[in-house]
């Protein structure tokens, strides 16, 4: 369950998209209405309509085993803090802060409206809302916007080279961050209050990228290096007032905040949010049970789940995530440089067993594809199921054994590299057992979760098969397929080679390029193409998709107004403690 802490991952510099022509009808806001909600809640968590002043006030106490690292929104890449940034920082655009599927919709935030791109989809002109102030009392100006985009490169934001490499001048900024100007890329007009962003090529996903915290607008006085534990003034309803990664992070109301858009940045309810660190997860759960804290960030331990699900059922909220757990197989080294060996693994692994090891069918579902259910481009399809079907039915060990024999790889040693937490180790041990049963000599290498993700990416470590997770950055099929399987995402010898399988198939890549191009005209058609890419890739089996997880939020009895954004998860600022 470590994925909640580390799921937002660094993308490779070259992973993202280079697109051709674009039309104004293909904005993310228009294309993000994927089917269904997929969200279930255990209790009567109800989204309120309109601000209910009677519930304002009080202190919200959140608990986490450890802090999430730097507080700098341009650098931090963890779900733990991205969740907090929703109530503190703003970008020109934002994901709508509401329950459910609608939370994938991009809305104007510090900008007055979402502009229609011009210049063949390469130019966006944003008009800044007047009268917005930072929490230190200074006005938000176009200079701050320009400086914030420069700052993405100056602080070497993890997504500088992937999300924002399409901005004109970004190539120079990536080479010499310290002197980044973006003179022709991001142009502020203080008199008109506009900011013009020029791209080198149309990018239908650009508004998504503007809506994540790395594109948040900071004061131009913000440090040009990682701010670390220093507090950067905010624009949202809360500001950070103290941060000690060993003890606590404190947020209080921003005295200069006035709600300008309920969709983009609604007023918050608690007067103070106190995020405490250092307890064990067991102690955190007990504290919430006893009403000593309001919420636990860390996933509850396996042996407390039954208790939470029965005795405290009305305090637990379970939501499907657009994510998947999978086992990448290195297609460039034995035995998985043989497609039959990879297919054998897909036939042999019982996804239902993985579901059990994850915590049961309430918390996870088997998957057979890259794109998770209810994600744009997802089509039910299960090529390695016995009996055959569009959804997972069961494994076929005999077929797997015969494929291993046919591949001539039987008897080879295989090491599975997993993270050293309880769930990952258990799944690793299960995979070891499966691999042994189909003819390999498997062993498990459990290494610290802090390094496992980068370790398995580096080809120098000769990782044959591993276990990892991928959570969406934003709701687009390319964020899974092109990132995880694209040739540009494979960088041998690098710790940042997110195409962990090292899979680079020119035919599949051409299909992905075509889908990216189609995105500029029709998202529906593009999603159909992405579904075909998913199927083609699974035929080659560079990975074994395992499960799509669900998230459990455990709240104290006196905490109300739970709302879950599918993009950034529980809306912390909307919780009631009064």
């Amino acid at each position: 369950m470590r994925a909640r802490r580390t799921s937002l991952v660094v993308l490779p510099l070259s992973a993202m998209l280079v697109l051709a022509a674009c039309t104004s009808s293909s904005t993310p806001a228009a294309t993000s209405s994927a089917s269904g909600s997929g969200t279930s809640s255990a209790s009567g968590s109800t989204a309120t309509t309109g601000y209910q002043a009677a519930h304002a006030g009080g202190t919200l106490t959140l608990l986490a085993k450890s802090a999430g690292g730097t507080l700098d929104p341009k650098v931090n890449y963890t779900l733990q803090y991205w969740q907090l940034y929703q109530a503190t920082f703003d970008g020109l655009t934002a994901f709508k802060k509401v329950n459910g599927q609608d939370s994938f919709t991009v809305v104007p935030d510090l900008a007055t409206e979402i502009p229609t791109p011009t210049n063949g989809g390469k130019t966006y002109v944003f008009t800044l809302r007047p009268g917005i102030k930072f929490s230190d009392g200074t006005d938000v100006t176009t200079d701050d916007v320009v400086a914030s985009f420069q700052r993405i490169f100056k602080v070497s934001s993890p997504t500088a080279g992937s999300f924002y490499n399409g901005i004109v001048g970004s190539d120079v900024c990536l080479k010499t961050p310290a002197t980044c100007k973006l003179d022709a890329g991001v142009i502020g007009d203080k008199a008109k209050g506009t900011v013009t962003i020029n791209l080198t090529a149309p990018d239908p996903e650009f508004l998504y990228k503007l809506s994540v915290p790395h594109a948040a607008i900071n004061p131009k006085s913000a440090p040009t290096k990682d701010a670390g534990n220093a507090l950067i003034p905010t624009t949202g309803p809360y500001m950070f007032t103290s941060y000690d990664p060993n003890t606590a992070l404190v947020m209080k109301r921003n005295p200069f905040f006035k709600e300008w858009s309920t969709d983009a940045q609604p007023q918050g309810y608690p007067d103070e949010i106190n995020y405490k660190f250092g307890l064990t997860v067991e102690a955190e759960v007990t504290a919430v049970e006893n009403g000593q804290a309001n919420w636990v960030f860390d996933p509850p331990p396996a042996d407390r789940l039954a208790e939470i699900g029965s005795k405290y059922a009305d305090q637990a909220h379970i939501n499907a995530l657009t994510a998947f757990w999978y086992a990448p197989m290195n297609v460039n080294i034995a035995p998985f440089n043989n497609a039959k060996a990879r297919q054998a693994v897909n036939w042999a692994v019982d996804r239902n067993a993985i579901v059990k090891l994850y915590g049961g069918s309430t918390l996870a579902q088997p998957v057979c594809t890259f794109l998770p259910p209810e994600f744009p481009g997802h089509v039910d399809d299960c090529q390695y199921s016995n009996p055959a079907g569009t959804t997972w039915q069961g494994p076929d060990l005999e077929k797997a054994k015969s494929l291993v024999t046919e591949s001539g790889t039987a008897g080879q040693a295989v090491t599975i590299v997993v993270s050293d937490d309880e769930v990952n180790k258990a799944i690793g041990e299960y995979l070891q057992s499966v691999l042994n049963s189909i003819g390999y000599k498997a062993s498990v290498k459990a290494i610290s979760g802090n390094i496992q993700f980068t370790y398995i990416q580096n080809t120098n470590n000769k990782v044959q098969i591993s276990l990892t997770q991928w959570y969406q950055d934003y709701p687009a099929a390319s964020d899974f397929l092109n990132v995880l399987l694209g040739c540009a995402s494979f960088t041998p010898g690098s710790d940042s080679s997110i195409n962990i399988a090292g899979y680079c198939n020119k035919t599949v890549q051409a299909q992905m390029d075509a889908a990216l191009k189609t995105e500029q005209t029709s998202m529906d058609q593009a999603n159909a193409q992405w579904a075909a890419v998913d199927k083609a890739a699974m035929t080659e089996s560079p990975v074994a998709p395992l499960i799509t997880p669900k998230l459990i939020d455990f709240l104290s009895k006196d905490t109300g107004n739970y709302q879950f954004s599918k993009q950034f998860y529980m809306l912390v600022s909307q919780l009631w403690v009064k």
Binding site: E429, Y430, Q432, S443
Partner: protein
């Protein structure tokens, strides 16, 4: 004597692990059994049972049945805890005993050579022991384990795979050498000045003969007394390393790995952690009592000094 009997019983139980696995538990102690079932009162039930209460959160392995199958319940892979505990005991005892032998032999050689030859030899060996001693035992063992168990060890033509139990044996055997070598060196320093040694020197005995005929026989009881004590300590160290996932590697088991498996089940299936913990405690106490007994047998004066 009681300690010896208990120890022998534990050893016999562990030796009988394959018999228990095949004829009593009728299960594979090393293969995941996540989707496995068992029959109780004529009904077939899953070994890992999903909760049906409330939201249906969590999956629990079955608890102790106190019958032949799953006597102590199952672990999170659906494997029989009792069978794994018996197999795990074999590894714990083998690692504890073998590493104790390695430790005592190495410590004996270093202690005798340093104490007997003195001067530069003593200075070099003693400083080497000091360096080793300067590291906290667990820190040193953890460092060595992380490096060696996550890769492998190649010495000339011999390669030890990362999963080999020889690695924890060597690691544990080496880190405790200073703790045994120091007192042996001190004893040899004392022996060297005793009349019977001086008489042998005066009679023209060579170093090797002196070491073999005069020194070693007098040091050997000390080493023998250390053996059960070090076995107990080494077993505990092995359990600690395995608990940290840097000792015995899955699917093999030791008491430490089973305790580690049980930590995640403490609230619902505490027996997974408690049972191997009890076995470890009983064995360690038995070995310590045995060590005391051996010391009393080999050194009656010590008993007299103790006022007994």
């Amino acid at each position: 004597m009681a300690a010896l009997v208990v120890l022998i019983l534990i050893i016999l139980m562990c030796l009988a692990a394959p018999l228990y696995e095949n004829y009593v538990a009728r299960t594979d102690a090393f293969t995941s059994n996540v989707n496995g079932t068992y029959v109780v009162d004529g009904q077939t039930k899953p070994v890992l049972e999903a909760s049906t209460e409330g939201l249906g959160l969590g999956v629990n392995p079955i608890g102790p049945t106190w019958s032949s199958q799953f006597f102590l319940g199952a672990d999170n892979q659906g494997r029989d805890v009792m069978a794994r505990m018996l197999f795990g005991g074999r590894n714990s005892l083998v690692i504890g005993f073998t590493s104790a032998i390695i430790c005592c032999v190495l410590a004996g050689i270093v202690g005798i050579v340093a104490g007997y030859f003195g001067n530069a030899v003593d200075a070099v060996l003693s400083r080497a022991l000091d360096v080793l001693w300067a590291f906290p035992v667990y820190l040193l063992a953890i460092c060595l384990s992380v490096v060696l168990i996550n890769s492998s060890l190649t010495i000339g033509p011999v390669t030890l795979n990362s999963g080999s139990i020889i690695l924890p044996i060597l690691i544990i055997g080496i880190v405790y050498v200073p703790y045994v070598a120091r007192p042996i060196r001190g004893q040899v320093l004392s022996l060297r000045e005793r009349e019977f040694v001086q008489a042998a020197v005066g009679a023209g005995a060579a170093d090797l003969r002196l070491l073999r005929r005069e020194i070693l026989p007098n040091v050997l009881p000390t080493i023998i007394v250390f053996l059960p004590l070090m076995t107990a300590i080494n077993m505990l160290t092995e359990s600690a390393l395995s608990f940290l996932s840097i000792g015995v590697q899955p699917p093999d088991a030791s008491w430490g790995t089973i305790i580690n498996d049980g930590v995640g089940l403490l609230y619902t299936r505490p027996m997974v952690a408690i049972a191997p913990g009890i076995m470890l405690a009983i064995t360690a106490v038995a070995l310590n009592l045995l060590g005391d007994g051996v010391r009393d047998a080999l050194d009656p004066k010590a008993r007299l000094r103790g006022g007994v």
